[in-house]
């Protein structure tokens, strides 16, 4: 890799993981994500989709293999380093939104900036830009209780992008939304990510959601297989 080529947002080699009971989830998982690329991972319940996300986020450790986020190998980082990496390089979108109920939308959106040491004012201003980009302009001071599910997910998308991450990990982002809202939210997430050159690893049951991705991979015991190329 030449010096002027930016490292891949996500590079997984030979990843193996089994659950505490001994059941093997996958034995040799390999994946490369380029900047701005959206990859959907589908699979049966219990296949280990969420575990894959946890491993990619450095919240769980693999039995074997290596994960690199923006060129940094997770196995070579200690816990503080992984936390820092999450804070600076990763964005998260959850099925249950996880918008803190007692913070305003702007504060929720600004959390990654504040966690990185930004002070309140500039962080909130940046959050307001992102909220405007996801169609929540002017609602910075609202509390989550005043929002619909779709609006909450849009806020979560703004939060996932606010600090300019290399990679967004999205765990069933449409799972709690009606189909129409789900389409709009997902479109918003993917458009925003692509326009900011952030890669997205999208874990979902929903074939409809998966269709929006550049590639669709199926998680199985051997690892990831291309649904079409399969």
């Amino acid at each position: 890799m030449s010096a002027d080529t930016p490292p891949l947002p996500l590079r997984i080699r030979g990843l193996a993981k089994s659950v505490p009971g001994g059941r093997v989830l996958f034995e040799d998982l390999n994946l490369d994500l380029r900047a701005g690329e959206v990859v959907a991972v589908t699979g049966e319940s219990g296949a280990g989709k969420s575990t894959l996300l946890n491993l990619a986020a450095g919240l769980d450790s693999a039995d074997r293999g290596e994960i690199e986020i923006a060129g940094q190998a997770l196995s070579r980082l200690d816990e503080a380093g992984r936390t820092r990496l999450r804070r600076d390089r990763l964005g998260f979108v959850f099925q249950a939104f996880h918008i803190l109920p007692h913070l305003t939308l702007a504060q929720n959106t600004a959390l990654p900036l504040v966690l990185a040491g930004a002070s309140g004012e500039p962080a909130l201003a940046r959050a307001a830009e992102l909220l405007a980009a996801v169609g929540l302009g002017g609602r910075e001071a609202d509390f989550p209780a005043q929002l619909s599910g779709g609006e909450l997910q849009r806020c979560a998308i703004a939060r996932a992008l606010v600090h300019g991450p290399a990679l967004i990990l999205a765990d069933e982002p449409t799972g709690n939304l009606d189909p129409e809202t789900a389409d709009r939210s997902l479109g918003l997430l993917l458009d925003a990510a692509r326009s900011r050159s952030a890669a997205v690893l999208l874990v979902t049951h929903s074939a409809r959601a998966a269709e929006a991705a550049d590639r669709i991979l199926v998680l199985g015991r051997t690892g990831l297989t291309d649904r079409h190329g399969g």
Binding site: S50, N54, A57, L59, D60, E79, A80, T83, R84, R86, R87, D88, L90, F92, F94, Q95, A96, H98, L100, P101, H102, L103, Q107, L111, P112, V114, L115, A116, G117, A118, S119, G120, A123, R159, G175, N176
Partner: protein, 842 residues
């Protein structure tokens, strides 16, 4: 990559403000819990300190800059020939002879009449060198004779004179001036020493020599030289001994109050702990999210701890202000001893020191931090991925809680109960109580499971089973909710048990020491009072069956200890010992020996038991006496000893009396006898004499007892309120967190009423479990109070009485209160949208 800020102040601000916006009441309760503890602790400290400062100042204004003091062991004083002997010793700059006469004003209030030679006093105690200006002006000093100088608290009578009542005399003296240097509130009148000696029958006697050392003189050397020349009826006292003695007067009482305040603060700490625990359990998902988004483990730990610190700081600040206000009110209302009766006649000013305020604020902060420490560790330990998925769930219900730590703490507590006092204070006793309390709280998860598990098995209506199952499923949460309640209920029960036992024992004691029908007491008359002719006249009054005249006087057995009381009383006909509430003995004395019977405090303070001998400083000599028994006494904390009045008269020649008990003749009419006794006394003497029926004295004594414990009860009630507030906060927190559960129950067809009933029952179960555990804990701590703390603090013992009504009422009240708060919390939770609650549960 940017350096990690361990704690983002922006984030802390957002989280704290968000939490407050969301749960203002709960946050307020946690703040108030700390505030109440700090306020009580600080108020008790301020009152004590102000009282001590005042007391100290009072002692100083009377003894001035005296470096040493020679004091009479009793009111009879010592021979004045000691004065020149001491004055000639080398190393002394000045010696001021003093005659002190306890007296009353015409309106019956007490004052101290001090006779000094102002020319001498000017060089030792300038505040008392009345009329002598800067102390040397001979003119004023010489005009002294037969006049009186008054402290600011005293006012001349209408015509510029001042009437003093003492020892049965009423003496009117012209007022010559004031004593501006004597503290406001002190009731002191100063007159010329010669005039006082002459007019108050003190010729040839002194009560005190105030001594100023020469520059460079070594106090020990001088003290040794003085000690070698002291007669039996005088004792040398240093300022240290002096302040130790005055401090002793109320020390045990003050320490007890201080401990109670600490208990309130501790209860507040438990409340912060339970509030923080619940708040963290509730926000597990939020914390997990923050961890995922990039908050380091230490950052989260600090975040939670900082939230506790903010609570603690707010609580401490509120508490300091409230404490100062409380102390101010208490000082104004009850005086420096909180109604305990140790300092009489003075209203000390509030004395606030920044250092001590900081200490109390720091205690509040420390308690809040300690209460947040375990929740913060727990929050930081949680694995974020798992927590994010299973937010809102806590621990595995099948895991058995550990009992060993509780057993260890309890065993240690029990062991400490057997430790001796430290510096006259039951420090290990308190430690024992604290450990038992900690053991009780530590045992709560185990105990909650033990007490709640059977509930799950009872066949009962649906709400009962639901409630029982719910509690049995989450005993740890129940334990968290209970710890504040158990702590406060336990302390309340312990205190109730102790006070009931004390009061019952005092009641019995009053019955035993007041066998006669009517009692007569001449105030401020230790050296005079009822002469033999008057005693005979009183005994011969119609309706009086028998008169037992008694001499009661204070004796100083040790310079650094408060004076003890000597009671010279007649023995019942044919008996070899008086009728007293015996603890040990009485044993007969050998022929030729003088028996005395010592009170329990005296026996403990001076380590005396039957058979021991003692030298009593009587009439200028030392009279060897033998201890022939120990009796229970609650009236004289620093000790009393009784002797046969015939022995007393033989040893001292003093056949006078200042107290008498009258037994009515059969058929006599009490009011007539009272009237007759009062009429038989000479008018000057009558003005200083109290005549009261035994029943009235007994009622008054119990009234004083109840009043002095009123503050104790008030402190306890506050602790209970804090505890119940803890239950309210816990239940409402859990209820709100369980909205989804209620929504589900509504969906599957449970009625709103059934859910409310379930909540009320849960609250009641919690309250009942807390009450049972608290009472059990309280019984143990109460026994430590009764068997260890009281004997070590006050040197008296008591018999245990079980205040079943109080304890039962406490249990019922706690159950009801906790049920009611659960119900109230549930009502607000149920008003939320149940359907929405389910949808949130993905």
């Amino acid at each position: 990559m940017a350096a990690d800020p361990p704690l983002s102040r922006t984030l802390l601000g957002w989280m704290v403000r968000g939490e407050w916006r969301a749960h203002p009441v709960r946050t307020l309760v946690a703040v108030l819990a700390i505030a109440v503890g700090v306020a009580l602790g600080f108020a008790v400290h301020l009152v004590n300190r102000s009282a001590l400062v005042e007391f100290d100042a009072a002692v100083r204004s009377v003894s001035g800059a005296a470096d040493l003091r020679i004091e009479a062991v009793s009111a009879a004083g010592f021979d004045e020939s000691l004065f020149p002997v001491v004055a000639r010793l080398p190393g002394l700059a000045a010696v001021s002879p003093v005659v002190e006469v306890p007296a009353r004003t015409a309106d019956g209030r007490s004052l101290t009449l001090i006779g000094v030679d102002p020319l001498r006093a000017a060089r030792v105690t300038p505040a008392l060198a009345a009329g002598s200006g800067a102390g040397f002006g001979a003119g004023g000093a010489l005009a002294f004779e037969d006049s009186v100088w008054l402290s600011p608290a005293l006012r001349p009578d209408g015509d510029g004179t001042f009437a003093v009542l003492a020892g049965g005399h009423r003496i009117v003296l012209p007022v010559a001036g004031g004593l501006p240097s004597v503290e406001a509130g002190r009731r002191i009148a100063v007159a010329d020493i010669a005039a006082v000696q002459q007019r108050f029958d003190r010729l040839g006697r002194l009560t005190r020599l105030d001594i100023a050392l020469a520059p460079g003189a070594r106090p020990e050397t001088v003290a040794k030289a003085i000690a070698a020349r002291l007669p039996a009826d005088a004792r040398l006292s240093t300022p240290e001994a002096e302040s130790r003695r005055t401090g002793d007067l109320s020390r045990a009482y003050r320490v007890n109050l201080g401990m109670l305040a600490m208990v309130a603060l501790l209860t507040g700490g438990f409340l912060v702990f339970s509030a923080q625990s619940l708040s963290i359990a509730r926000r597990r998902a939020a914390f997990a999210l923050l961890r995922v988004l990039g908050l380091p483990r230490t950052g989260l730990f600090l975040q939670v701890l900082a939230e506790g610190a903010v609570l603690g700081l707010l609580g401490a600040a509120t508490g300091l202000a409230a404490g100062a206000g409380l102390a101010w009110g208490v000082l104004g209302l009850l005086g420096g001893d909180l109604g305990g009766g140790y300092f009489s006649g003075s209203r000390p000013a509030l004395d606030i020191s920044p250092g001590w305020a900081a200490i109390h604020a720091g205690l509040g902060l420390a308690v809040a931090l300690a209460g947040s420490l375990f929740p913060a560790l727990e929050a930081a330990r949680a694995a974020p991925a798992l927590a994010l998925k299973s937010a809102g769930q806590s621990g595995d219900p099948r895991r058995r809680p550990a009992l060993l730590p509780a057993v260890g703490l309890g065993a240690l507590g029990l062991a400490f109960a057997f430790a001796p006092p430290v510096a006259g204070l039951p420090l290990f006793g308190y430690l024992s109580i604290a450990l038992i309390l900690a053991a009780g709280v530590a045992a709560m998860p185990w105990l909650a499971r033990l007490l709640i598990a059977p509930l799950a098995r009872i066949g009962a209506p649906v709400p009962v089973r639901l409630a029982a199952a719910r509690l049995a499923g989450a005993p740890d949460q129940a334990a968290v909710a209970l710890c504040g309640l158990v702590a406060s209920a336990g302390l309340m029960a312990a205190m109730g048990l102790m006070v009931a036992s004390f009061r019952g024992s005092v009641d019995d004691w009053l019955g035993a020491i007041l066998p006669a029908d009517v009692y007569l007491r001449v105030a401020e008359a230790e050296t005079a009072g009822l002469d033999t002719a008057l005693q005979a006249r009183l005994a011969a009054l119609p309706g009086v069956g028998r008169l037992e005249a008694r001499r009661s006087l204070t004796l100083r057995l040790a310079a650094d200890r408060p004076a003890v009381v000597l009671l010279a009383q007649p023995l019942p006909a044919g008996a070899s010992a008086p009728d007293l509430p015996w603890r040990r003995g009485p044993v007969p004395a050998a022929p030729g020996e003088t028996p005395v019977w010592v009170s329990e405090p005296l026996s403990r303070l001076y380590d005396l038991k039957p058979g021991d001998t003692l030298d009593l400083p009587l009439a200028g000599g030392r009279s060897p006496v033998r201890v022939a028994g120990v009796w229970r006494d609650y009236g004289r904390q620093f000790g009393a000893l009784a002797m046969d009045r015939r022995d007393y008269v033989r040893l001292t020649g003093d056949a006078g009396a200042n107290e008498a008990g009258l037994t009515l003749a059969p058929g006599a009419h009490l009011p007539d006898v009272l009237q007759g006794v009062r009429a038989a006394l000479p008018p000057d003497l009558a003005a200083q004499t109290e005549v009261a029926p035994a029943g009235e004295i007994r009622r008054a004594a119990l009234r004083i007892f109840d009043r002095s414990f009123a503050v104790t009860y008030a402190l306890e009630a506050v602790a209970i309120l804090v505890g119940v507030a803890g239950v309210a906060a816990t239940v409402s927190a859990q209820t709100l967190a369980r909205r989804r559960e209620f929504g589900m129950l509504r969906h599957v067809g449970a009625g709103r009423g059934q859910i409310l009933a379930m909540l009320a029952l849960e609250g009641a179960f919690l309250g009942a479990v807390g009450a049972v555990a608290g009472l059990a804990l309280g019984a143990a701590m109460g026994q430590v109070l009764i068997q260890v703390v009281n004997p070590q603090s006050f040197n008296w013992t008591m018999d245990t009485r079980w205040p079943l009504g109080l304890l039962g009422g406490l249990a019922v009240a706690l159950t009801l209160a906790s049920s009611l708060t659960a119900l109230l919390a549930g009502r607000s939770a149920l008003s939320a949208d149940a359907v929405r609650a389910v949808r949130e549960d993905w």
